[in-house]
C-alpha cells in the first residue's frame, strides 16, 4: 500500500537526491556579482500606500475614541483636554448639520439603496486592500 504521507523521507526521495541538479556555467556567480557592482545601491525601502493606511488604522481609532468618547463626557478632570471646547462648540454642531444632510439623502428608497451599495462596495474594497496578505514581494 502506498504511504499516504510521502512528506517524510522515503526511498524515492533518496534516489532522486542522488542525481545532481542542473548547474549554470562556471562563471555564473562572477557574472552576477559583476552585475551587482553596476547597481548603485540597494533599493531603498518603498512601502505601498496601503501599508501606511494599515498602520494608521489603530491611531485613527484611538483618535476617534479620545475625542468622541472622552471629549464629550462630563467628567471634570477631562476639561484640560486641548481643543475640547472648540470640538464641542464647533465640530459637534458641524457634524450634526452634515449628518442631517445625509439623512435627507436617505429620504428616497432608490437613493438609499444606491448609496448603500456604493458605501458597501467602497468599504469592502478598502478592507480587501488593507487586510489582504501580499503574496508577491
Amino acid at each position: 500500500m502506498e504511504k499516504d504521507d510521502f512528506t517524510e523521507d522515503d526511498f524515492l526521495g533518496r534516489l532522486i537526491r542522488q542525481n545532481p541538479l542542473d548547474s549554470p556555467s562556471d562563471d555564473f556567480v562572477n557574472r552576477v556579482m559583476a552585475g551587482i557592482q553596476t547597481v548603485p545601491e540597494i533599493a531603498s525601502v518603498r512601502k505601498p500606500i496601503f501599508w501606511y493606511l494599515k498602520v494608521m488604522v489603530p491611531y485613527i481609532l484611538l483618535f476617534m475614541l479620545f475625542f468622541v468618547v472622552f471629549a464629550t463626557s462630563d467628567l471634570p478632570f477631562l476639561n484640560w483636554l486641548p481643543g475640547k471646547s472648540y470640538y464641542l462648540n464647533h465640530l459637534v454642531p458641524y457634524f450634526g448639520t452634515l449628518f442631517a444632510g445625509l439623512k435627507n439623502s436617505f429620504s428616497s428608497k432608490y437613493v438609499s439603496l444606491g448609496l448603500l451599495v456604493m458605501a458597501s462596495t467602497a468599504f469592502l474594497f478598502i478592507i480587501d486592500r488593507v487586510f489582504t496578505r501580499k503574496t508577491a514581494a
Binding site: S23, F28, M33, I36
Partner: protein, 188 residues
C-alpha cells in the same frame, strides 16, 4: 561546501558587505537555474533569467520582510520571471482521472531496486525522471532536490496545497511505475 543560514548572509549584505551576496548566489544558483531551465527548456535563456533574478533580488533585499523563507521568495521570483519570459501557462489544477497511474507500490519497487547496483540505480532514476513532463519534473525537483515543503511549493507556484500534494502523489506513482518497468528489465 557548507553554507550558513540565508539570514546570516542577508544581514551581512544589508550591513554593507556586498561580497556576502556571492555566497547566497552560490548556495541557490543550481536550484534557481534548474527551475528556470525546466520552464524555459533552454540553457542560455535559463541562465539569463537566473542572473536577472539574482540582480533583482539583490536590489529588493531590503524589502524582504522575512515572513517566508528567503529561498521561497527567490524561487517564486524565478518561477514568475521564467513563466513571463516563455509566456507559458502556469501550472494548472488537474482532475483526478487525468493520468493513467501504474499500480506499483513503493514497497514493491524499493524492495527490488536495492538489489541493483547504485550506479545503475542513478541511471534508472535519471531515465525515469526524463519521462516526466516539465511541470512534473519542476514539482519533484522543488520537493526533493530543493527540499521545499508542500506549503513552500504552493507559495512558489500559486497552486493550492492540496493540489500540490495530489500532483506529487501522482508523479511519485508515475515514477514508481517507470522504475518498476526498468527494474524488471534489469533483473530478468
Amino acid at each position: 561546501m557548507k553554507y550558513l543560514e540565508d539570514n546570516h548572509y542577508i544581514d551581512r549584505v544589508l550591513n554593507g558587505d556586498v561580497s556576502a551576496y556571492a555566497m547566497l548566489v552560490s548556495k541557490h544558483k543550481n536550484l534557481v537555474f534548474s527551475i528556470a531551465l525546466k520552464i524555459l527548456n533552454n540553457r542560455e535563456d535559463a541562465e539569463e533569467v537566473a542572473q536577472d533574478c539574482f540582480l533583482k533580488v539583490f536590489q529588493a533585499l531590503k524589502t524582504f520582510e522575512r515572513k517566508s523563507k528567503f529561498s521561497t521568495w527567490l524561487y517564486r521570483i524565478v518561477y514568475n520571471a521564467a513563466i513571463s519570459k516563455t509566456r507559458k501557462k502556469r501550472l494548472e489544477l488537474v482532475p483526478m482521472d487525468n493520468y493513467v497511474i501504474h499500480n506499483y507500490t513503493e514497497d514493491e519497487v524499493s524492495g527490488g531496486i536495492e538489489e541493483i547496483d547504485p550506479e545503475e540505480q542513478k541511471e534508472m532514476i535519471d531515465r525515469a525522471m526524463k519521462q516526466l513532463t516539465d511541470d512534473e519534473s519542476l514539482l519533484i525537483t522543488l520537493f526533493y532536490k530543493g527540499e521545499n515543503s508542500i506549503e513552500d511549493i504552493s507559495n512558489i507556484t500559486g497552486l493550492s496545497m492540496s493540489n500540490v500534494k495530489v500532483r506529487l502523489h501522482r508523479i511519485r506513482k508515475k515514477l514508481h511505475g517507470e522504475l518498476a518497468v526498468m527494474m524488471n528489465k534489469a533483473l530478468n
